[in-house]
Symmetry: C2
Subunit: 198 residues, 2 copies
């Protein structure tokens, strides 16, 4: 449990909330750290990813990002069934390599209606179909940040993990998504690669 200062009550941790702490400590060692577009983020050596509400680590992190797993916004039942049949959850023992990609989308994206965003996301950018090709080798967890309540620096943080032999396939997936019409709406993006130090 954690103290919620707004409502003066103890609240249970929300297991859908994840905290990403960048600094000198953490399970994941940074092997690549590059701003793609927009304001950069301070470069760090290691990242810790924890579930639930997290207090700042005693080792003095350079930054903390948060995101929450939520219901899917775009997939149809047909696509969902395809995903469920192929997908794996992150955290497999062989998944020693990871990608962490925080992005923000611009105001034009958020002003679009649901049908307009869906058409860009899937009919024209094939976001789900791109991800499907790399399942189950590349596991994925999407975290939403935009509606956490603070002015979060990113709208989404996506975590992917995979074994070392799939590292180049993962780069193909990233390149494929980054070339889409959907990505024209991305106005801040940091590209991070990680290796797990057990």
């Amino acid at each position: 449990v954690a103290w919620n200062s707004l409502s003066s009550r103890f609240v249970e941790m929300n297991p859908r909330l994840f905290t990403f702490t960048g600094g000198d400590s953490g399970l994941w060692t940074v092997t690549y750290f590059q701003p793609v577009v927009g304001e950069p983020l301070p470069e760090i050596k290691r990242i810790d990813i924890t579930s639930g509400i997290s207090v700042a680590s005693s080792k003095g992190p350079k930054w903390t990002l948060r995101g929450i797993v939520s219901n899917e916004r775009y997939v149809t039942r047909i696509e969902k069934d395809q995903l469920v049949a192929k997908q794996a959850a992150p955290g497999r023992s062989g998944s020693t390599h990871a990608g962490l990609i925080p992005i923000r989308k611009n105001a034009a994206w958020w002003a679009l209606t649901q049908d307009e965003r869906r058409a860009i996301f899937e009919e024209r950018s094939h976001h789900v179909q791109a991800g499907l090709k790399y399942l189950p080798n590349v596991a994925r967890r999407l975290h939403h940040c935009r509606d956490l309540g603070d002015n979060e620096p990113f709208d989404f943080i996506t975590f992917f993990d995979f074994c070392s032999s799939d590292a180049s396939a993962f780069e193909d997936l990233v390149a494929e998504l980054r070339a889409t019409e959907e990505w024209k709406f991305v106005d801040r993006e940091i590209d991070i690669r990680l290796v797990r130090q057990d």
Copy 2:
């Protein structure tokens, strides 16, 4: 600005975030307070609604709810244009009466895919079309709570305001929505009516 304990940084207030404080003080006097389904909420005399991050009032509120205005999840461009042509923002000087309706939807709702939720929301429950009939007299602001990061007690808080002569029309709107297929997924709901004390 407010202190963000998670990331040890000062953050600007998010103008999309609203705090609803129930207790003995506040602009709005409660004229009706009734749990509709699920766990009730302590009954209170007055409610204050503030924008941005809010600290607990010194008058000892009985409860604090929060919600954030976000992008629309279901409306199409055609519906959005209809809404924009007719709608008014809450806060008009003549809008002395209000409805405040916190709801939570069950796990079955959140497990549905986007196309399934949309079909229930509009094609079968006509949520947008119901609201359109009462515009601009009944103004509406929807706040999302589910992804704020804590375990919030509700998924949505909707605030409506109108002048006294539209109070019975507002009850018709509430009854119409509550009879829909969409509302079968609501497992917690509190029905609150308010009058403004300037």
